[in-house]
């Protein structure tokens, strides 16, 4: 019942937005449904930690600690993005950059997007998981092209073509897992349920599972934005409206990674750890290297944030490669921390580009002097993203590296650290240009506190989790147990 309610809430928001056309109260209702979903997700977490996993909707849905945790991440970022979205769309309507019809379409699609992500993480079955992830692509394409400029049209075309190919490969991988399950004597109705696959994993044909997992990493990896399947990501993230970039970077990438985690736990039991580990280490290090090299000379701050997402997805893949419970718990903490800070940064960058009229790094100077509140949030967000304590990314990165050394992947961790140092220098340099520098232009109207409040709140939560991990410890442990070695 609880899981069904969680799935239905954002969909109700979509219906309200569709029925009311664009009205501020309808948009605020959608924010409210997302907030209610977040609250229920927290209840769900407490429930699964105390009483264990349970199913719903005739066995189509299932919630364990990992799914519950992912729903919390989705809920938190959905609240942030839809809150700031109301202001973004209202100001676009005022300046005539957006029609009422497009505003309605935007509001509806955002809620559909959130619903499909929730469906993906609550699916009991790898087929339904695939449907959820595929539906996110369909829902977000028009959102990426919302501004109707040539550049955004190009970005949305690339996005849907590349991601459709990727997701098709993931489906082929799913079909092969189904073949292996049927061959091992599974009943066709439940053969794709990941609980039954986990239970019978040792009987699955290893050679088929290797091929299937490679296709899944390639396929879902496209949506995660792992190199070499990343080329859609910087374009889509830089062209989409800021709240959409926040949702995509903050949760969509990690929802796709969640799919890889589920397959990995089955593959590990079937063919041993080494196969998945090798594959993930390769894509992780490639992602870090490409992100580092392209961040150095980056001139657009939205693209800078996009490449930083590729970096963090690489780190998460490297953590998952280690696979021990410590590593998986750290990966999940990193998913939450990165989701919060990256969506705050994208949302802030949306406000900056609306105020400054450019997304070029050298077009924005002395932000801290001219717009202290906006510049301050952006600066603190960057500090969190770069892994400064007390923010939780510091703790999760440290734990991931410890796990790497424990399983003998110390060399990979060392390579990753080199890339991170390069990225640190590059981003600190860009941030220095934007935030400090001469602030000769007179001080302009500041973004209202009301719009900045959720962003500051999200950063505070991120810092609090980094300082006192206690409310999360038992949840993360339970979630890690369900997919770790």
């Amino acid at each position: 019942m609880l899981v069904v309610l969680i799935l239905v809430l954002p969909a109700v928001g979509a219906l309200v937005c569709a029925a009311a056309r664009w009205r501020p109260w309808a948009a605020w209702t959608a924010v409210g449904t997302n907030a209610a979903m977040l609250a229920l997700a927290i209840v769900l977490c407490v429930h699964v930690v105390r009483h264990g996993a349970f199913g719903g909707l005739f066995g189509v849905l299932r919630a364990d600690a990992l799914s519950a945790f992912m729903v919390v991440v989705i809920g938190a970022i959905a609240v942030l993005a839809s809150w700031l979205g109301v202001r973004t769309i209202a100001s676009e309507l005022e300046t005539g950059r957006c029609t009422e019809r497009r505003a309605t379409l935007y509001a509806v699609l955002v809620q559909v997007f959130v619903t499909t992500m929730v469906l993906a993480v609550l699916a009991a079955n790898l087929g339904v998981l695939w449907l959820g992830v595929e539906a996110t692509t369909v829902a977000t394409t028009f959102l990426v092209g919302h501004h109707r400029t040539k550049a955004s049209l190009e970005a949305s075309w690339k996005y849907i073509v590349i991601c459709s190919v990727g997701i098709a490969l993931a489906f082929l991988g799913t079909v092969l897992v189904y073949l292996a399950a049927i061959h091992a004597g599974g009943h066709s109705a439940h053969a794709l349920d990941w609980t039954s696959l986990m239970a019978h994993a040792h009987r699955l044909d290893p050679s088929v599972m290797r091929l299937a997992f490679a296709l899944v990493v390639l396929g879902y990896g496209t949506k995660v934005g792992l190199v070499p399947m990343h080329s859609w990501l910087p374009d889509a993230h830089s062209q989409a409206p800021a709240p959409i970039s926040a949702l995509m970077s903050g949760v969509l990438l990690t929802v796709a990674f969640y799919a890889i985690l589920r397959f990995k736990s089955i593959c590990d039991l079937s063919v041993g750890v080494q196969f998945a580990r090798t594959l993930l280490v390769i894509v992780a290090l490639l992602s870090l290297a490409v992100a580092a090299s392209l961040l150095l000379a980056q001139r657009d701050y939205k693209r800078m944030l996009a490449y930083s997402s590729i970096e963090h997805m690489g780190l998460i893949a490297l953590g998952a490669a280690a696979g021990i419970p410590l590593a998986i718990a750290a990966v999940l903490l990193h998913i939450l921390g990165h989701g919060l800070t990256k969506s705050v940064l994208f949302l802030t960058s949306g406000q900056i580009s609306a105020a400054e009229g450019t997304s070029k790094i050298d077009g924005v100077q002395g932000l801290l002097a001219r717009r202290p509140a906006l510049g301050g949030v952006f600066g603190v967000g960057l500090l969190a993203l770069l892994g400064f304590p007390p923010f939780s990314l510091f703790a999760s990165e440290l734990a991931m590296f410890r796990a790497e050394f424990q399983v003998g992947l110390g060399w990979a961790a060392a390579v990753a650290m080199v890339a991170m140092v390069v990225i640190f220098i590059a981003m600190a340099n860009h941030a220095h240009l934007m935030l400090l520098g001469p602030g000769d232009v007179p001080r302009a109207e500041a973004t209202p506190r009301f719009a900045l409040a959720p962003l500051i709140g999200a950063l505070a939560v991120c810092a609090a989790i980094g300082l006192f991990a206690w409310p999360l410890t038992s949840l993360l442990e339970a979630a890690a147990r369900s997919v770790a070695l």
Binding site: G127, V128, I160, V165, A168, L172, T174, H183, S188, V208
Partner: protein, 219 residues
């Protein structure tokens, strides 16, 4: 249905899927390609129906009906609508010309047969021996994606990739469960609708365009 008729009709329909994929490479007029896609959808439905009748699986026969309705009727009708704006639309300057494309497709078919022995030994009988054809269709779809430059041909390439995967699914496991198959097919339909809208916007913004002329975004 006797074992003999089953084997020969299955081979016939699976063969038709592959012939259609190769024909896409051979043709350049959008209309003809859309017709070929419709025939491929029919052949795919026939594969599912044949398998369904053979193993007496009502779900698979229902899947066949859905596949025919969407892949042989709805999607081609949608693609024709974009074609109707310009009835003579064709691929004029493919990155790889037609003779070379056909040679590549032959190589891709050989590659598919050489690389799928992991799967063929798990699936007994005629269906198992035909699995490489699904992979060949998939690879030809990829080739269309990289070698053709008109937006509509990219949609066609994606559909070939999808048809190849659906064929593999039918052959190796007699189809994934009906509800999932239904969802997958509907998702593909939605995806095509979105792609069509975008293709129309591209046409509106740029007129006749080759996709490598899109160059607003780069690092």
């Amino acid at each position: 249905m006797s074992a003999q008729t089953f084997a020969s009709s299955l081979t016939l329909f699976v063969g038709a899927v592959l012939v259609c994929a190769v024909a896409v490479l051979w043709l350049s007029a959008v209309r003809a390609v859309v017709r070929v896609l419709a025939i491929q959808g029919l052949a795919l439905g026939a594969v599912a129906a044949t398998l369904g009748l053979h193993v007496h699986d009502a779900g698979l026969v229902a899947t066949a009906a859905v596949v025919v309705a969407i892949k042989a009727v709805l999607i081609p009708a949608l693609l024709r609508r974009i074609g109707s704006g310009d009835a003579t639309e064709r691929e004029r300057r493919p990155l790889v010309n037609v003779p070379a494309s056909l040679v590549v497709s032959a190589a891709l078919i050989l590659l598919a047969f050489a690389s799928t022995h992991v799967l063929t030994h798990l699936v007994a009988g005629t269906a198992g021996s035909l699995v490489p054809v699904g992979f060949a269709t998939l690879l030809i779809g990829f080739f269309v994606l990289v070698a053709r430059r008109r937006p509509i041909f990219q949609i066609v390439g994606l559909l070939l990739v999808d048809n190849g995967i659906v064929l593999v699914a039918f052959l190796v496991t007699a189809g994934v469960p009906f509800l999932i198959e239904l969802g997958v097919t509907l998702d593909v339909l939605l995806g095509v609708v979105v792609l069509m809208v975008l293709a129309q916007r591209l046409h509106h913004e740029y007129g006749e365009i080759d996709l490598d002329e899109l160059s607003e975004l780069h690092d």
